[in-house]
């Protein structure tokens, strides 16, 4: 639990630490209101790492799916952040990242539908959803 809380809070602490290092709270607050790109990227990276860790460590296939969702959303966050950043810098085609995010959401939905169907089929045949009990990929 503590570890989980740390996970949640650590980006905020990171931000605060960075801001504090500049020495001016108002500027830090301002920056918290309008965080720059690197913060989103860091959060996206953290989300990605959490997702990968979930995929690799959890045995329940449902949780693995959820972790995959995390990975996808980490990518989405990157897209959105980049889109915003490019908008700020005046790039004309900045909306492409947002469109891409929409596509990723659609793909994720479709993937979830198919994946859950596979899970049901698996369960019917194997009566388990623990991935360490499923080794038929070998064949």
């Amino acid at each position: 639990m503590q570890l989980a809380l740390f996970n949640f809070l650590s980006p905020a602490f990171g931000m605060l630490l960075q801001a504090a290092s500049n020495g001016r709270f108002a500027v830090a607050w301002e920056k918290a209101q309008h965080p720059d790109l690197s913060k989103f990227l860091i959060i996206g990276a953290l989300l990605f790492i959490i997702g990968v860790a979930g995929v690799l460590t959890r045995r329940n296939i449902i949780v693995i799916f959820m972790s995959i969702e995390l990975i996808l959303n980490a990518a989405n966050l990157n897209f959105i952040a980049m889109s915003r950043y490019l908008q700020d810098t005046g790039n004309v085609n900045a909306v492409a990242g947002q469109i891409f995010a929409v596509f990723v959401i659609v793909v994720a939905a479709a993937e979830a539908a198919i994946g859950l169907g596979i899970v049901i089929a698996l369960y019917r045949n194997k009566e388990t959803i623990w991935v360490d009990e499923i080794d038929i990929l070998k064949w």
């Binding site: 630490l17 360490d132 070998k138």
Partner: protein, 852 residues
């Protein structure tokens, strides 16, 4: 009118196509088939008559010029376009060619060299390429006019006759299809305007001859005879083809008008001088020998009698066999350039005339006698050509076409009336039963014997006179003696034929006969096996029997009146469709000779203007003395000399010189019988009369001997046959020429074939099989090596590797999805580390620096 001559060959072709393609499918009746065939020929004949009349005698007649259908666009097309040909032959000199234009100047500079460019006698550059365009167009001149008239006119008579003769034959449509095709080919042969068209017709008539000889193809004898004819003709055709190649290589064209114009300017080749034109003439003459059955290629013609009798009449007597004469006369420019070849032609003709006439004396098959008679008469024609009297040769072709077609059709009528009996020993006194056939046959008999005023007399006498008085070759007197003896034999064997067939006792009453006669049948008859029970084959063809088959009496009921062709039967006269053509031909055989009436009767001149065949043919005969076409003065329709021709002759001949007085064109004359006689008698006319009397005398002797032997005292033939046994045997067995060819050619060819087969089966096959054996051996060795050594090594290495490595790789494949995902992530980490490791380290370092 002569613009329409292209229709003449086309009509028989159309008739043949209709009969041949539809006759069987639509089950045409005999009347329809006969109508189509005879109608097409009749129409062609009418067109021919109209065309020849308008060409020679009409208002603006073209004679003596040559008319080619391409010259006024009446009918022609390019048959073989734009072949490049290299004129390699015939260099007679060198000349500097005047260049026209820059390109020619370069060529001329290259070609002229120091000596000038090689040219032929006509002044045409040799050695350079020429363009050979062969066109399909028809030529109408004096020679082709006469041949067209003979082919269509005599052909019409024979077609009408054949509708009666072939009545009831199952192959009626086939017969007339072949006949029509033959007419087409023959007309192409004589009407073509170039050598290649002549060759097409030449091969076409050969093919039709083959088809018609083998018309009764279910009879072994007919099938063999057709093959024999075809193969023998190939020998001649080979020579002809070589001659055509020679013509193309020398003159660069095949068109007659062009070739002969060039050839006329070549130098004469004296006796023993084998120049270019001699070789071409030799090739042509070999072709003529094959087609016109001259020694030694005559063997096919007597056997060709296995075909139906109208075929024998049309093809093997009247028209096709005269194709050789047509060709020699057509190319008389080339022949007359070579004295050697003139002599060869004359001697071969004379030898053939005597040779075949002596064989004709002893043959018993009526058609065989006529066949050898044909060979003999063809020899006479070649004799005429060889001594330079080409027009007389063609004259004899014409009269011979009349009387020989007449006699063949008469023989056909006899065979028909006698129910397919051909052996003259079983005939006799047929004049009682077949009066029309007898009377018409008499005209033919008198004509071929040479009795004045029948047609054969005029032509044969002219041939002998020309042989005796020739200035072309030094051996004219030999030719004359041989020809005179042959004429005697001719009169003898024809009298024998008439006597055995139409006179004497009615032998068929005594002897039963049937089936088709052949030598086997005749020998059975001689042995006293008089009765004959030939098996009746109801295959729709004639009754027949096999050689060597047992002949003996069978039940008398089988020999009833209805039994066709067997037992005693009474001959009957043939139907009108058969004797009317006979009558027409008899009239022609009687009066046909008056178009070439002898100069002795008319005061030394060929009278009648163009109506005289010698005058008519004059424009196409080249004169080696004057180097011009035309020997006599050219006469216009009113009989007056044509102006230009007189001047041309006057330039060449010294004034006051008669054409007759000119010395031999080749210089050396040798012994000349007529001149010797003339110097004794001091009169040319008297000399000619002397020879006429001699020729009449020998004809009379021949007829008298025949009468003595076969009417007066019928024991004489046997007595004299026994007395002259070796000669009789030689003649009866045709001088063993067939046996000789069988031994010298057929056996040797078969030996060679056997040798080649042995070589093939032993050496060639041995080499092939040996190499196959070697291949198999080597493949077995390499296969073993591969199987046991290479595969073994490969398998051993592979097994070793598999043993060693498989646990490692097997362990990696756990089947758990997460393991694979872990590997992917590790891979990602590695990739990132590789690409961005330095950046990350720097970033981490800076963060730590910030924090600490």
């Amino acid at each position: 009118m002569y613009r329409y001559i292209w229709l003449v060959p086309l009509l028989p072709l159309a008739g043949a196509a209709i009969n041949g393609l539809l006759g069987r499918k639509l089950r045409f009746s005999e009347k329809l088939i006969g109508g189509i065939a005879v109608g097409s020929i009749a129409l062609a004949f009418l067109i021919t008559v109209a065309a020849v009349y308008s060409y020679a005698f009409g208002g603006n007649a073209m004679w003596p010029q040559t008319y080619v259908t391409s010259q006024d666009g009446a009918f022609s097309f390019t048959w073989i376009p734009g072949g490049a040909v290299r004129m390699t032959q015939g260099v007679t000199g060198r000349a500097f060619i005047e260049p026209h234009g820059e390109r020619q100047a370069q060529q001329a500079q290259r070609l002229n060299g120091e000596d000038g460019q090689p040219i032929n006698a006509a002044g045409i550059p040799v050695g350079e390429g020429s363009v050979l365009n062969v066109e399909w167009s028809y030529q109408l001149d004096a020679l082709s006019s006469i041949f067209m008239l003979i082919v269509t006119g005599v052909g019409l008579c024979i077609f009408v006759f054949a509708t009666g003769y072939m009545h009831g034959d199952t192959g009626f449509y086939r017969f007339f299809a072949y006949m029509g095709l033959f007419m087409f080919s023959m007309l192409v042969l004589v009407m073509g305007s170039n050598f290649l068209m002549m060759f097409v017709g030449w091969e076409g008539v050969g093919l039709c001859s083959y088809l018609l000889i083998g018309y009764y193809f279910d009879r072994q004898e007919a099938a063999n005879a057709s093959r024999k004819a075809f193969i023998t003709n190939r020998v001649g055709d080979f020579g002809f083809a070589l001659a055509i190649f020679g013509v193309i290589a020398t003159f660069g064209t095949t068109q007659y008008t062009n070739v002969f114009g060039q050839a006329a300017s070549y130098p004469l080749e004296r006796l023993g001088h084998w120049g270019l034109l001699s070789w071409i003439a030799l090739g042509l003459f070999i072709g003529a020998c094959g087609k016109s059955a001259q020694l030694p290629l005559h063997v096919w013609l007597p056997d060709a009698m296995a075909g139906p009798t109208p075929v024998s009449a049309l093809i093997h007597a009247a028209t096709m066999v005269t194709a050789g004469l047509y060709m020699v006369t057509r190319t008389n420019v080339i022949f007359q350039h070579s004295q050697t070849m003139m002599m060869v032609v004359a001697l071969v003709g004379a030898a053939t005339a005597l040779f075949a006439a002596t064989i004709g004396i002893t043959q018993n098959d009526i058609k065989k006698v006529l066949a050898y008679s044909t060979v003999s008469q063809l020899g006479f024609m070649f004799m005429a050509c060889g001594v330079g009297a080409f027009a007389i040769g063609i004259f004899h072709v014409m009269t011979h076409a009349f009387f020989k077609a007449l006699m063949f059709l008469g023989a056909g009528s006899v065979i028909h009336g006698m129910h397919h009996e051909q052996d003259m020993r079983r005939m006799g006194n047929l004049r009682k039963y077949m009066p029309y056939t007898y009377l018409t046959f008499l005209a033919g008999w008198l004509a071929i014997c040479g009795i004045i005023p029948f047609s054969g007399f005029w032509s044969k006498d002219e041939i002998l006179w020309n042989a005796a008085s020739t200035r072309y070759i030094p051996v004219g007197w030999i030719v004359w003696i041989v020809g005179t003896i042959a004429a005697t034999c001719t009169a003898f064997y024809m009298t024998r034929l008439v006597a055995m067939t139409f006179w004497g006792k009615e032998k068929f009453l005594r002897e039963q006969a049937g089936g088709e006669a052949d030598e086997a049948h005749a020998s059975a008859f001689d042995k006293g096996l008089t009765q004959h029970d030939a098996k009746f084959e109801s295959a729709g063809d004639r009754p027949r029997h096999e050689p060597g088959e047992h002949v003996g009496p069978t039940g008398s009921a089988a020999h009833g009146a209805a039994d066709h062709g067997h037992g005693v039967h009474i001959p009957h006269e043939s139907p009108a469709s058969m004797w009317v053509p006979l009558a027409v031909l008899a009239v022609l055989a009687t009066v046909g000779g008056f178009v070439g009436i002898s100069t002795a009767f008319t005061g030394g001149k060929h009278i009648g203007g163009r109506m005289n065949i010698v005058n008519f043919l004059d424009p196409i005969i080249w004169n080696p003395t004057t180097h011009n076409f035309g020997k006599e003065e050219m006469l216009d329709s009113a009989g007056k000399p044509v102006e230009g021709e007189v001047r041309a002759r006057a330039e060449v001949l010294p004034p006051g010189t008669e054409a007759k007085e000119v010395a031999s064109p080749y210089g050396d004359e040798g012994f000349n019988l007529a001149h010797v006689a003339e110097s004794r008698l001091h009169s040319e006319t008297l000399t000619e009369w002397l020879f006429i009397v001699i020729s009449l005398l020998v004809a009379g002797i021949g007829i008298g001997l025949g009468y003595l032997f076969y009417v007066k005292d019928t024991r004489l033939p046997d007595i004299w046959a026994a007395r002259l046994r070796p000669l009789y045997q030689a003649s009866y067995n045709k001088y063993w020429v067939d046996e000789f060819f069988g031994w010298a050619v057929t056996r040797r060819v078969m030996d060679a074939a056997r040798g080649v087969f042995a070589f093939d089966s032993k050496v060639v096959d041995g080499a092939v099989n040996g190499s196959a054996w070697l291949t198999r051996l080597s493949s077995r060795i390499t296969g073993g090596t591969d199987q046991y050594f290479v595969d073994g090594v490969v398998n051993a290495v592979a097994a070793f590797v598999a043993r060693l490595m498989s646990p490692l790789f097997r362990a990696a494949q756990t089947g758990f999805a997460q393991n694979y995902a872990l590997v992917m992530v590790l891979g990602l980490v590695v990739a990132v580390a590789l690409f961005f490791g330095a950046d990350i380290a720097r970033a981490v370092k800076s963060v730590f620096a910030l924090i600490l």
